[in-house]
């Protein structure tokens, strides 16, 4: 038999019992829909978690510090940083230096009108900077010129105006932030991108030791995981080291660091890299320790949701089986005729399997469309009630979670359709085998 003749017979049979086929298909539609929606909610949950973690900090960064200050313990030196950099899956590594040992002051160079006291500078390797994911709001997130700095998003607001009375000599940052939410952030006193600054290093007894001219090469975009992007200052680690050495000429130049950052290429490699660094004798911390259990929990939830959906698809499978058995009972005589006229057993089986499979396919396709609509409506509702979303995803402490309640990727649709067809064919097997066993004799028997 030719396949399109087979298909023709199948379609004729399906058309004959339109209402029955419709109801059976409806069962598959509901089953398919519940599987897709449940899984999509699982995906949405996972996505929300991912975003939440990303807000808490870069998931691919590992903070490294020495275990203890003992002399025998492994030390963070330029050489060890280089070793980190050469590990598999590591994109960049940098020591992290802070200027906390000395007191620093920044003043506008030309008029000395605006000053910022007790500032803290973080030193990072300028080579590692692009990989660490800093985004510039203005200028470039690079430290190309010597003694250039990158200011945090609100870095300019830490300056006070020396010409104003003390009560109004600074812009209150928190009220400024509040105003920013309303859409009108007040301008800082001066544009740091266009104003050269002077850095003054002050001795422990309060006297200025020396000054250094500074240029601002960029203002950073705020990144919740990196507090220096809020109102901090970034400088190349070599420049900062030079300043610190000059301030404390007596101290021996051990060149060891108390902190380092390692950037891994992908989330999936974080654990492996972390383990290697731990084996080298360092203490590490990353988001991995938070991410892992969360991911596990999300997976469990997703499985549970998918399982619930699968139950309704299973019920749909029973529906298909029932429909097929019914139609075979009704068509006993026809099957007998077909056999008597020389229809092959395998063609009869194919006809019934195709019928069942088509019901699955139809249900799957309609189910997918319905799921897309439902998902859209769910997300729309969730967007209007952010509380609902957060409650469901148990992350109420992160504001404005932008993830959707239900996410349907293309593969899920494809999977749902294939799965529905498979369910259809599987539930067609038993009826088809019954059909095959009907003898041609049935046709000859006169009623």
């Amino acid at each position: 038999m030719r396949w399109h003749d087979l298909l023709g017979i199948v379609l004729q049979n399906l058309q004959r019992h339109r209402s029955r086929v419709f109801l059976t298909t409806l069962g598959v539609v509901i089953g398919c829909c519940s599987v897709v929606i449940m899984i999509s909610m699982g995906i949405g949950m996972k996505e929300a978690q991912k975003q939440m973690l990303a807000q808490m900090g870069d998931l691919t960064l590992i903070q490294v510090s020495p275990l203890s200050q003992g002399k025998k313990a492994a030390q963070l030196t330029d050489q060890t940083i280089e070793l980190f950099r050469q590990l598999d899956h590591v994109e960049a590594a940098s020591a992290k230096l802070t200027s906390d040992a000395v007191e620093l002051q920044l003043v506008t160079q030309n008029d000395q009108r605006y000053r910022s006291e007790y500032i803290s500078i973080i030193g990072l390797s300028k080579e590692a900077l692009p990989a660490l994911g800093y985004q510039a709001k203005e200028g470039k997130p690079l430290l190309s010129a010597p003694f250039s700095i990158l200011g945090g998003r609100y870095f300019a607001y830490s300056f006070t105006d020396s010409l104003r009375p003390e009560s109004s000599n600074r812009i209150d940052l928190f009220s400024a932030l509040y105003k920013e939410e309303k859409g009108s952030l007040p301008e800082p006193f001066f544009d740091p991108m266009k104003t050269p600054l002077t850095l003054t290093v002050i001795s422990s007894d309060g006297h200025p030791l020396f000054t250094q001219k500074i240029t601002v090469s960029g203002i950073l975009e705020e990144d919740h995981g990196k507090y220096e992007t809020f109102d901090g200052i970034l400088m190349d680690i070599k420049d900062l080291q030079q300043l610190l050495d000059k301030a404390n000429p007596g101290k021996s130049k051990k060149n060891t660091y108390t902190q380092a950052i390692v950037k891994v290429r992908g989330i999936e490699d974080v654990a492996a890299v972390e383990q290697k660094i731990t084996h080298m004798g360092f203490r590490t911390s990353s988001m991995e320790s938070i991410r892992k259990p969360m991911e596990k929990e999300a997976q469990q939830k997703q499985m549970m949701l998918g399982g619930l959906g699968a139950i309704s698809l299973f019920v749909a499978a029973l529906g298909i089986m029932n429909t097929m058995i019914m139609s075979i009972t009704e068509r006993t005589r026809e099957i007998g005729i077909m056999k008597a006229l020389g229809c092959r057993v395998r063609d009869i089986r194919t006809i019934f399997l195709t019928e069942a499979g088509l019901i699955g396919l139809l249900g799957g396709i309609i189910g997918c469309f319905l799921s897309l609509i439902l998902s859209f409506l769910m997300n729309l509702t969730a967007a209007h009630q952010p509380g609902l979303l957060n409650q469901f995803q148990e992350t109420p402490w992160i504001e404005n979670t932008p993830a959707a309640l239900s996410i349907i990727p293309f593969w899920l649709l494809l999977f749902a359709i294939v799965f529905s067809v498979l369910i259809g064919i599987l539930s067609g097997f038993y009826p088809a085998n019954r059909a095959v066993k009907i003898s041609a004799l049935e046709a000859i028997k006169s009623e």
Binding site: M1, R333, S446, E447
Partner: protein, 235 residues
């Protein structure tokens, strides 16, 4: 003459049915040769075993003992798949209840044996239309069985049985549901078609009048051949 060549041979055929504890012997020991082109009437009352014999001949059931051979094929021992292919090629059926598929038009019904053989739609429907015209249903090509009278349905049934030019055609009470005028039309048609292409007809009936259309009449009683009469006036 080609009629001298036996096309069906039955050797020591026995068929038993077990009904719980009891065993019913439907056919005792049948030995029979049927010639090509012969129009054979298997005659008997109900319970005589005539339907069982037909089922054995058509390969619908396996015998308890004995062999049925059609042409070179031992059809009593073929597998289901081989049997299907054999039917596609060599057997035609005419049923008492016409047994047209209700979802198909007359043309589609008549073309069915060709469809199972995998012949393309255009070719088989052309053949089916030609066949329907020959049985006088040229004006009913696209009618569904429900829209046709019993006689018309049976004529479509005849068209279906003959469309693939089978060597043997089984007709089980083909006129059982028809009035006498239509019966005559139908029987004349079947015999005419068969004679034209030297096809063998196995006609099963309990109606003595049917015998008039046959060359040879076999009377069955209690699973045995009671009489085997050949009409000598036919050459």
């Amino acid at each position: 003459m080609s009629e001298n060549r036996p096309i069906i041979s039955i050797r020591n055929l026995r068929k038993e049915y077990s009904m719980g504890e009891e065993t019913v012997i439907a056919l005792k020991n049948i030995n029979l040769e049927i010639m090509q082109g012969e129009i054979l009437c298997i005659f008997g009352t109900s319970g005589s075993g005539k339907s069982t014999l037909l089922n054995q001949l058509a390969g619908m059931e396996r015998p308890t003992l004995g062999k049925v051979r059609i042409g070179h094929c031992l059809i009593s021992h073929l597998h289901e798949n081989e049997l299907a292919l054999f039917r596609q090629q060599y057997l035609g059926f005419i049923f008492q209840a016409y047994n047209l598929l209700p979802t198909m038009t007359a043309t589609e019904n008549v073309a069915l044996p060709l469809l199972f053989r995998g012949i393309n739609k255009k070719q088989r429907e052309q053949a089916a239309r030609k066949m329907l015209e020959r049985v006088g249903l040229g004006h009913r090509l696209d009618h569904y069985p429900k829209q046709m009278s019993g006689g018309q349905q049976q004529r479509a049934g005849i068209a279906r049985a003959f469309i693939h030019h089978p060597a043997v055609i089984f007709a089980d009470e083909p006129t059982g549901n028809l009035d006498s005028k239509t019966t005559q039309e139908i029987m004349t048609m079947i015999t005419e078609f068969a004679r034209k292409y030297n096809q063998t007809i196995i006609l099963v009936t309990h109606d003595p009048e049917m015998a008039a259309y046959a060359d040879r009449i076999i009377t069955l009683k209690d699973g045995e051949i009671l009489r085997d009469v050949k009409k000598e006036n036919f050459i």
